[in-house]
């Protein structure tokens, strides 16, 4: 597989957003509002990572907007000293689409959860991704409904016993990364709430990407689904489960890179490198035009977290909806400036004399 150079100008994700030389710190991005998540919630770690990462962008603080839906994670905007909208359940991508399309000078972020983005707001999510609106979507996935106190979510494992499913849930869960790739999202990544370094790297790449960037963040809910991702944090397990994706490098993991990802027909599989040879290991290339490769990567790990790729699955360049929409308006205004009198008059008028 090769990457096709579409000859598109490479515009950064924040091009058009005014920058500043003023010194910014995590503190300057901290609002005066008391943070009200439960003690031990994974959201704290994500908030801290975002607050300390935002100054890196050197954007004017007033030109950053966080839009959220409903759920625990959607309280996020209140805790940032930027512009923010805490909207309604599932609709943040729609609201952010209107904002980003009408305002190229804003860096627009969406904060959402597994219920907000994948259940009630699933439609908006997939359409935002296919349009490639220049939004950064942080999807906090804790595999449970927290704010409504513990019902199963669209990413809960089948058979999950919750308040609403005492005999076990029946639904097959979504894999958010697969879903986003199915919608042909141009940027898809996954990170852990507990891995600040990787989370920051992914946020940086998302911000730099022009177009929709979906970042799935595995996030622990200590109250209703505690330990959901513990196997990925356990020092004894972590190494043989997490599959770190680094662009241009062979996909190897495990103690001493014992395991590698190889192609097997239409699929990707995990094999011992000693058995298949180093040359068989797939070299990660997030810029492949066809989403099939990234999709195959996303299928390596299932709900059981046996193998869990993290990092950037896909990062390709495609014109964004909002850039194209503004371009159409600009061209129309240049070629024929609006003349209201002429518009109202039309082609067929008649006179009535006094």
């Amino acid at each position: 597989m090769t990457t096709v150079d579409l000859g598109l100008p490479s515009i950064g994700g924040t091009a058009g957003v005014p920058t500043t030389d003023e010194k910014q710190t995590a503190k300057s991005y901290t609002s005066d509002q008391e943070v009200r998540w439960c003690p031990g919630c994974g959201d704290y770690a994500v908030l801290a990572a975002v607050r300390s990462f935002l100054p890196e962008l050197r954007l004017k603080r007033e030109n950053t907007v966080f839009v959220s839906g409903i759920g625990c994670s959607s309280r996020f905007p209140y805790y940032l000293n930027t512009y923010g909208v805490h909207s309604i359940h599932g609709r943040a991508p729609a609201i952010a689409t209107g904002l980003a399309t009408s305002r190229p000078d804003l860096s627009v972020w969406v904060v959402t959860g597994d219920g907000d983005a994948l259940s009630i707001g699933g439609n908006h999510l997939i359409h935002t991704l296919r349009r490639n609106v220049n939004l950064k979507i942080l999807l906090f996935n804790n595999r449970i409904y927290g704010l409504t106190k513990g019902q199963y979510s669209p990413t809960s494992e089948q058979g999950k016993v919750t308040k609403s499913t005492p005999a076990g849930s029946l639904d097959h869960p979504f894999n958010p990364v697969s879903l986003a790739l199915g919608a042909e999202a141009t940027f898809v990544a996954r990170a852990m709430d507990s891995d600040r370094k990787q989370l920051t790297e992914v946020l940086r790449a998302a911000a730099e990407h022009r177009g929709s960037a979906l970042v799935e963040i595995y996030q622990n809910c200590p109250i209703f689904n505690d330990g959901a991702f513990d196997v990925l944090k356990d020092p004894g397990e972590r190494e043989r489960r997490i599959v770190p994706l680094r662009d241009g490098e062979p996909i190897r993991f495990g103690p001493d890179g014992e395991f590698g990802v190889v192609q097997d027909g239409f699929e990707l599989r995990v094999r011992k490198v000693s058995e298949v040879g180093e040359d068989a290991v797939v070299v990660h290339d997030a810029s492949r035009t066809d989403p099939g490769y990234a999709f195959a990567l996303s299928r390596l790990g299932g709900q059981d977290l046996e193998h869990t790729p993290t990092g950037i699955f896909r990062s390709v360049s495609r014109p964004t909806y909002d850039d194209l929409a503004r371009e159409q308006v600009r061209l129309a205004q240049e070629s024929k400036p609006g003349d209201l009198a002429a518009l109202l008059r039309g082609n067929d008028t008649w006179q009535v004399l006094g």
């Binding site: 509002q33 007033e62 689409t97 209107g98 305002r103 359409h127 008028t349 008649w350 006179q351 009535v352």
Partner: protein
């Protein structure tokens, strides 16, 4: 001689008119021309017969001639129901006159039926003595059986009460187009232009506009354009040369207020009103919407006007449409969404968010028959209570309704004024009748359009001198909160659907604060300045008032003229602002012995008036998917005037 058409709404206005320029076209006619003051024509045919186009063209001819006019398209929701069947019948009625008229007419004076289905579906509306023009080619045994005629109405005497003209339109058209090389089928498709030509001859219409239109419409297929023009001329010549049509009719230009006019439908006027609102407010327009009948034409129209800084976003659903519009409003654009009743149901939660975040938003509901999918292509006014109350919590929203196609332009501007001044979502209730119907429009003086500019917040405003920005600190006069758009330094703030503390705007669950905020939001809407309602009562002594809202203005006005023509005084008033209502409305209602409220629903305005003003109004309702007829309203008014309802 002057003949008054059947069931007219009677002239009321004065003034002088001039003959329009360029009334020309085909040879001067040799037959006698009767003068009429008004005519109602209905074209009816199969959905694929081009009846809407035919009606549109005749309307343009009438407009170009200077008549006043009103139109009523009536078509099925199915794009092409099976040919020749009753569900597939599509019709277009237009009323044109030499005076100012108010409705498309109760009944046609002339019915053009292109097939037996069209005849069967429409003949009951044609009064005895009316002119019936039939395309005989379609009256085959098979077609007659298809719609349940056991005998041929052309032969069984059942049409004896009408002036029947049997014209083999399809074969005459085919014959005339034989030389063009078009296939039989293509040639026959031009038969609607034959019908238009014949009617244009009968009513002495100018024709060059239609020929120009056809050349433009088919500019990529000139052979089709010429074939249609040939069919049109063949129809005209058929009237001129055959013995079948002894007379033609003339309807002189109407005496309307002086100025430049054009013909306009409600949806077009609404789209232009939105463009003008963007221009007058100095804001870019962002339309977020989803296709739905009968509102889609507004999207189609606005999508053509990007050069006015208009962005149109066809969203994945109704909710995303309004969500994106609200997001754009938050960013400082004029956010607009357009839909019909089912779409309002879906948008309700976002309207609530707009109420809570106190952002401007224009929401246009082109009402149709409900509930549920209901009657997508038919008219109704049954979304009033949904507009008023269809949200969770106390979520007051201003509601306005245009009264005619052209009025949609003015109401779009007025709704925008309220949205921007008071930072609130505003609901505009049009409906299928005025959205698709058309009338002449006196072009507005652009300099007289309202100035809709409002300032964005630019400075911290905390009254405690802390240098903070309080997003919910209100203007003492309008109670509007500041509109602080992202990108403004020092005003970073967070808004959302959760209850906010008065002034400071932080999340607040405080009981007293919530009580105060609910009342403040209500007080803001209640305090919107709206003009007083004006009563039309030429006699000055009427003791019965008819109060309407929205698209019923025309039929109510026409019925009042009829009543007054019998020497009985009756007063008429019409509500444009439904929330808040004009402050003098209570006084007005109290001045009359009886108040009649006709509505195309089961009495929604009547319910509001009874609740608010304790006035026992007489509610007259109809939900047939069609507008009121002047005749039926006159009967109701007469009954009330005679005390039958007292």
């Amino acid at each position: 001689m002057t003949v008054t058409g059947h069931g007219g709404d009677g002239p009321a206005g004065n003034g002088a008119a001039a003959l329009p320029d360029g009334v020309q076209g085909l040879p001067a006619r040799s037959k006698e021309a009767h003068k009429l003051d008004r005519v109602v024509i209905r074209f009816a045919g199969d959905s694929g017969d081009g009846m809407q186009l035919t009606g549109d063209r005749f309307t343009s001819e009438a407009a170009a001639f200077g008549n006043d006019l009103a139109t009523l398209p009536n078509f099925p929701a199915e794009i092409r129901a099976p040919a020749g069947t009753l569900p597939g019948v599509s019709s277009f009625q237009l009323h044109f006159a030499d005076y100012d008229i108010l409705t498309p007419g109760d009944r046609p004076d002339v019915l053009v039926a292109m097939n037996p289905a069209a005849l069967k579906a429409n003949i009951r509306d044609l009064p005895q003595g009316g002119i019936l023009i039939l395309n005989t080619d379609e009256f085959t045994k098979r077609n007659l059986t298809k719609v349940g005629y056991s005998s041929n109405p052309l032969e069984d005497g059942s049409l004896g009460g009408f002036q029947v003209h049997e014209v083999a339109m399809a074969s005459l058209t085919r014959g005339a187009l034989e030389e063009t090389g078009l296939s039989k089928k293509d040639a026959e498709r031009a038969k609607n232009m034959f019908a238009l030509g014949l009617l244009s001859w009968m009513y002495n219409r100018p024709t060059e506009g239609t020929e120009r239109f056809l050349r433009e419409k088919f500019r990529r297929r000139p052979e089709i354009a010429e074939a249609n023009i040939l069919a049109f001329r063949t129809g005209w010549n058929y009237g001129e040369t055959t013995e079948a049509f002894g007379v033609t009719y003339e309807v002189a230009p109407a005496k309307l207020p002086p100025g430049t006019y054009r013909q306009i439908t409600g949806n077009l006027a609404l789209a232009y009103g939105i463009v003008a609102a963007g221009q007058r407010s100095g804001l870019d327009v962002f339309l977020g919407t989803y296709p739905i009948t009968p509102a889609s034409d507004v999207l189609h129209e606005l999508s053509k006007h990007k050069n006015f800084g208009v962005t149109t976003f066809q969203a994945e659903d109704e909710i995303a449409g309004i969500g994106a519009a609200l997001g754009a409003s938050y960013g400082g654009a004029l956010g607009v969404t357009t839909t019909s009743g089912p779409g309002i149901a879906l948008k309700s939660e976002t309207i609530g968010l707009a109420v809570m975040t106190e952002l401007p938003l224009l929401i246009c509901d082109i009402q149709r028959g409900g509930p549920s999918t209901g009657l997508p292509t038919k008219t109704e006014q049954a979304d009033l209570l949904q507009a008023m109350y269809g949200r969770n919590g106390e979520a007051p929203v201003p509601v306005l309704a245009p009264s005619s196609p052209a009025d949609c332009f003015d109401v779009a501007l007025e709704a925008t004024r309220i949205a921007l001044t008071y930072r609130t979502p505003v609901l505009l209730l049009s409906d299928g009748y005025i959205a698709n119907g058309s009338e002449p429009w006196l072009l507005p003086d652009l300099t007289a359009l309202p100035d809709l500019r409002v300032p964005f917040a630019s400075e911290p405003n905390a009254p405690d001198g802390s240098g903070e920005f309080w997003p919910y600190l209100r203007d003492p006069e309008t109670l509007a909160r500041p509109w602080a758009v992202p990108g403004t330094p020092g005003l970073e703030h967070r808004i959302g659907g959760l209850e906010k503390s008065d002034g400071r705007g932080d999340i607040s669950y405080d009981p007293d604060n919530h009580d105060r905020m609910v009342r403040l939001r209500q007080a803001k809407i209640d305090g919107i300045t709206v003009p007083d309602i004006e009563v039309d009562d030429p006699s000055g002594v009427a003791d019965v008032l008819v109060l309407g809202w929205g698209s019923t203005y025309g039929p109510i006005g026409a019925a009042c003229r009829r009543v007054r023509a019998t020497g009985t005084p009756i007063a008429q008033a019409h509500l444009r602002h439904l929330n808040p209502m004009p402050s003098n409305l209570g006084d007005v209602l109290g001045r009359y012995r009886r108040v009649i409220v006709p509505e195309m629903n089961l009495g929604q305005l009547a319910t509001l008036l009874r609740a608010r003003y304790l006035v026992d109004v007489v509610s007259h309702t109809k939900v047939a998917g069609l507008p009121f007829k002047a005749e039926e309203l006159q009967l109701v008014f007469d009954q009330v005037l005679q005390g039958a309802h007292a």
